[in-house]
């Protein structure tokens, strides 16, 4: 037989089989196709949104730093501008551009506006397009308090040329005059451009810069020059290349991307299990057709090829649909939610969806391959079966029972347990994910053994319906695995996710309560660099009659390493002897404070990123000097993934002389209402709505609401996975009932009532779904330990305490048992509607 004959035989068999499936069970096929589509859609959407965000990030970075080879960066407070002169003279540097790059506080609780203070002529060497755009207006930039806005900034702020832009500098509003609007071609993102000197003057940074863009002479080795320059830089100032910045952006978002992609993979794997279930049961249902095809001359490889082709067709249809859906979802997400999926670090303004054909093709291929994987075992088993046996009525269980499951199941569970203890690989919890996959696969393989053991220990009740149901389950344990695989996988993942999210929410709530004990929280525009309350403003607030107690904080960015994002320094009132009273402290140093150091409490992220431990010393670069600190403890922080360090405010003021504050907590006197206090604070500062004031309880509620919103998509996806699992149960139940029609017919003949048969099916459904729920709960609980203690810890570098949502799990289990039992019963009822009399004459 030549190759074309073989292919033709497989094609004929495929056509016959697929047609029978399409005609006989279109809904089951549709459910399977949708399951694959869901996984592929999710993966495609995550990929497309991320690539749009990263492409936009790259382009934005290029627009902002032009053709710089090295960028010198310092904290928002800046460094001495004398550094520019010395770097510009460096022999490897061909062009240098001094920059003040600040997030300027705006009134009205708006997001801050990024403002670049540039020397237009020096910047032109690195960003020639910019000067061309500014053109004749360049002289206008040199006038006092002038600014040019990008078109998108002007639109957002509703300003036109000649209008005044109010910004907050220190604790006071300041007015800038808009002298021009830049076209989208230069800066599509919201941005303001000022002359460097004007910016230094207007934004209270006289003599300071916080960025210098350098272009190197041709042939100068960027890495070597960067290393040489780094040695000359003052503390807290770093030299980075655009590649490092991109890498940093990628790293910051990697854990989110990996987690979202894992969700996609979970959906895809659930789809694969469903393909496995559907195909296994389709093979069982069509044994006589398969046997006939073999008897007519279709060879084993041809039959296997045809059945694999069926799986591939399901996979390809699902994958194509999924890719389309994914592109659509990605477009909707970019349009309505932005590219960050709720993660601020990932948001890139103006991200545009592009459809890379290679990547889309890869997703379609992955979906198809996963479906083929699901179809492979049933195809192999069907091809192995002798034609005579396949055509004859018989018991499908033995062929499935031959497959080894117990030992591989135990080995996979052991492998999962070992993998869970491994450290992150390349900063990612890859071993943790593998552990989950191994545990899931192992647990699924153990289902037949457990089913046989559990039903085997059941004693006969003497009630025909119950005894037949139990005997049926015991005798069909391997087929039951096929039916239950998808629901056990999806339900256990949902349980694991529910436990993890509940634990996270619980820990997050406790963290909020610990950090927000005051009645009122105040802040000057989050994530901005220029707004801060001066000491006299703080005193004014503290002395208001309604204020019982006031605490102010200074939060600023500090660069510890060029390779990592800046960390947050929080200078606040804290009693070193009782730090745990106001900080969610996890561990404290056992050693006493060494002489000449100040105590500092670092977040878990900082511990993980830089390897600091309680009792260690660290030198904190602060305004060009190094402040010796002693790590007095580790605390839990859910807000700053790049790390945070808390120092006593008195020590900070002593080291820097900076008495300003940009955050605060106020406790009101009992007789004063919160709105009255808020009004009094606003009146005392005359900052209008630039000052963000919010009640502690209100902030907690808002934070928890945002938390719930962030996880809503996860729950939605998990619910879909469980629904797909239920479809699997339905597919299995109806196939099983169909296969047992003759049995039902015989039971009707010998006097079993219709409702007794339905009762028997209901008992089987309840037993199976209860076992699935219990097994899913146990497996989910085990998986949640990996999610909580391994994946969460390694992905986000913060810990959470395990908390079990008993009520939610009970409701989920009840819903599953009811839904699965009803699905099984409904499927059985459909099979029962067939003529029981005819069924006993069917010999298959």
């Amino acid at each position: 037989m030549n190759r074309s004959d073989r292919a033709r035989g497989a094609w004929i068999a495929w056509r016959a089989l697929t047609r029978s499936q399409l005609r006989g069970h279109p809904l089951q096929l549709l459910a399977t196709v949708l399951a694959i589509a869901l996984g592929v859609a999710l993966g495609t959407a995550v990929y497309l949104v991320n690539s749009a965000a990263l492409t936009e990030f790259d382009q934005a970075a290029r627009r902002l730093v032009g053709s710089a080879d090295i960028v010198i960066r310092g904290p928002p407070e800046g460094f001495d501008e004398a550094l520019f002169a010395s770097l510009a003279r460096h022999r490897a540097v061909s062009a240098a551009s001094p920059v003040l790059d600040l997030q300027v506080t705006l009134p009205g609780q708006r997001p801050p506006l990024q403002v670049l203070g540039l020397d237009p002529f020096r910047a032109a060497a690195l960003q020639p397009a910019l000067l061309g755009e500014i053109g004749a207006d360049v002289t206008g930039l040199f006038a006092r308090d002038t600014i040019m806005l990008s078109r998108s900034a002007a639109q957002v702020l509703e300003l036109r040329r000649g209008d005044a832009l109010t910004v907050i500098v220190g604790g006071a509003p300041k007015s800038l005059r808009v002298i021009g609007i830049l076209s989208d071609a230069v800066y599509p993102e919201p941005l303001g451009i000022m002359d460097i000197a004007t910016a230094q003057w207007s934004l209270a940074r006289i003599g300071r810069l916080n960025r210098i863009d350098l272009r190197l002479r041709p042939g100068a080795p960027a890495d070597a020059v960067r290393a040489a320059l780094a040695a000359e830089l003052p503390p807290g100032v770093v030299a980075v290349t655009p590649a490092i910045e991109r890498g940093r952006a990628l790293t910051a978002t990697r854990a989110y991307r990996v987690n979202l992609n894992t969700l996609a993979l979970v959906a895809l794997l659930t789809g694969a299990f469903l393909v496995f279930s559907t195909q296994s049961l389709a093979v069982l249902r069509r044994r006589s057709v398969l046997g006939l095809l073999r008897a007519l001359g279709v060879t084993r490889p041809q039959l296997q090829g045809a059945l694999l082709g069926e799986g591939a067709a399901i996979g390809a249809a699902g994958s194509l649909l999924g890719a389309l859906l994914g592109a659509l979802v990605a477009a909707l997400i970019l349009r309505h939610l932005g590219s960050g999926f709720g993660n601020r670090a990932m948001i890139a303004g103006g991200a545009v969806l592009v459809l890379p054909s290679l990547a889309i093709a890869a997703f379609v291929l992955i979906g198809t391959a996963v479906a083929c994987l699901g179809a492979w075992i049933p195809a192999r088993e069907a091809a192995r079966r002798a034609p005579a046996l396949a055509m004859k009525a018989g018991d499908a269980e033995p062929s499935l029972r031959r497959l080894p499951t117990t030992l591989p199941g135990l080995l996979l569970i052991a492998a999962g347990a070992i993998l869970a203890w491994l450290p992150p690989i390349g900063g990612l919890p890859l071993a943790g994910y593998l552990a989950i996959a191994a545990l899931l696969a192992g647990a699924v393989l153990l289902i037949p053994t457990l089913m046989r053991w559990i039903t085997g220990t059941a004693t006969r009740s003497g009630h025909a319906t119950l005894d037949i149901a139990v005997a049926q389950l015991q005798g069909s344990a391997s087929i039951s695995t096929v039916s239950l695989a998808a629901i056990v996988v999806s339900f256990s993942l949902m349980v694991a996710m529910a436990i993890m999210v509940h634990s996270f929410r619980n820990s997050f709530d406790l963290w909020l309560v610990k950090l927000l004990p005051a009645d009122l929280q105040l802040r000057l525009s989050a994530f901005s660099d220029t707004g801060a309350l001066a000491l006299d403003q703080q005193t004014r607030i503290a002395e208001l009659p309604g204020v019982a107690r006031a605490q102010f904080r200074r939060v600023r960015q500090i660069w510890l390493s060029a390779d990592r994002a800046p960390l947050a320094l929080i200078a606040r009132d804290i009693d070193p002897a009782h730090a745990g009273d106001s900080l969610p402290l996890l561990r404290a140093a056992q050693q006493s404070l060494p002489d000449g150091t100040q105590p500092a409490w670092i977040s878990e992220s900082l511990q993980d990123l830089y390897g600091f431990q309680p009792g260690d010393r660290l030198l904190l670069p602060l305004d060009g000097r190094l402040l010796p600190l002693f790590v007095a403890g580790i605390w839990r922080d859910y807000v700053r993934p790049d790390g945070a360090i808390v120092v006593a405010r008195a020590a900070y003021i002593a080291a820097t002389g900076d008495q300003s504050a940009n955050e605060g907590s106020l406790w009101r006197r009992p007789q004063v209402s919160a709105p009255a206090l808020e009004a009094a604070v606003r009146a005392s500062l005359a900052l209008g709505d630039a000052l963000e004031l919010i009640g502690g309880e209100q902030l907690r509620e808002r934070s928890l609401r945002l938390f719930d919103q962030a996880f809503a998509i996860t729950y939605a996806l998990e619910a879909i996975a469980v629904a797909i699992g239920l479809v699997g149960v339905g597919v299995a139940a109806s196939s099983s009932a169909l296969a047992r029609r003759a049995q039902f017919g015989m039971l009707r003949h010998i006097g079993m009532l219709r409702r007794q048969i339905l009762g028997m099916l209901a008992i089987e459904g309840v037993i199976m779904s209860t076992l699935s729920a219990i097994y899913g709960l146990l497996l989910g609980a085990a998986l949640s330990l990996i999610l909580v203690y391994v994946i969460n810890r390694q992905s986000f570098r913060w810990s959470i305490d395990l908390a079990i949502p008993w009520r939610q799990l009970a409701a989920l289990s009840t819903a599953l048992i009811t839904a699965a039992a009803l699905t099984a019963l409904w499927s059985g009822r459909a099979a029962m509607s067939q003529d029981a009399v005819r069924a006993v004459r069917e010999d298959w």
């Binding site: 003497g462 009707r748 079993m752 006993v840």
Partner: protein, 237 residues
Amino acid sequence: MVYAVTPLLLLDQITRRYRPEAAPVLDRLRLQLAPGEYLAIMGESGSGKSTLLNLIAGLDRPDSGRVLFEGIDLATLDDDAVTRWRRASIGFVFQAFHVLPYLTVLQNVALPLDLLGVRNPQRQERALQLLEACGIAALAPRYARELSGGELQRIAIARALVHRPRLVLADEPTGNLDARTAQQILRLLREQLHASAANAILITHSVAAAATADRILQLASGQLRPAARSAALPSVP
């Protein structure tokens, strides 16, 4: 003084069509089964043999006419009542055995007693008694999926008689068996019917099988007519 003996089964002017416009498959058919009688019904494929069996078992209802079992009109019983009547009064032997693969042989045989609510140890004793009688007591703890066709049909016969039914309906009981096994099964059926004092209706294509019955009827054109016993084939003693 004259006593009227109520026939065990009386089919009175039975007509059954598959579709209203179609010709009747059973046309004003009459049949009377005397107590203790073993009747064979033969007929070509599609002649309505199985339809007739279904009507007798209360699994189907005639378009017109009555099915009376010991004087009770089955049409007056609802589905549950007919099922309960069938459970107690009828035993079935099928061509394809229909023995549940996940139950042991003993459990399969005891199934009708289970449904009738007979408790252990009586249930097990009676089932073992029938297995013994059918020569398969040794198979009691084994699962049906491990057995041969002949063994399965012996189990089916034991199951059909275990609850002492008044009537056994056997639909092509030897259709899936070789000639030698078929003869053994027919002999066993006959013996056990006799031992249980049960009536039986055997539906078959096989002249040899029909020859084991007391009376043979031929179903053709919707009517039952007496068929001559083939002289070539001796009846099974």
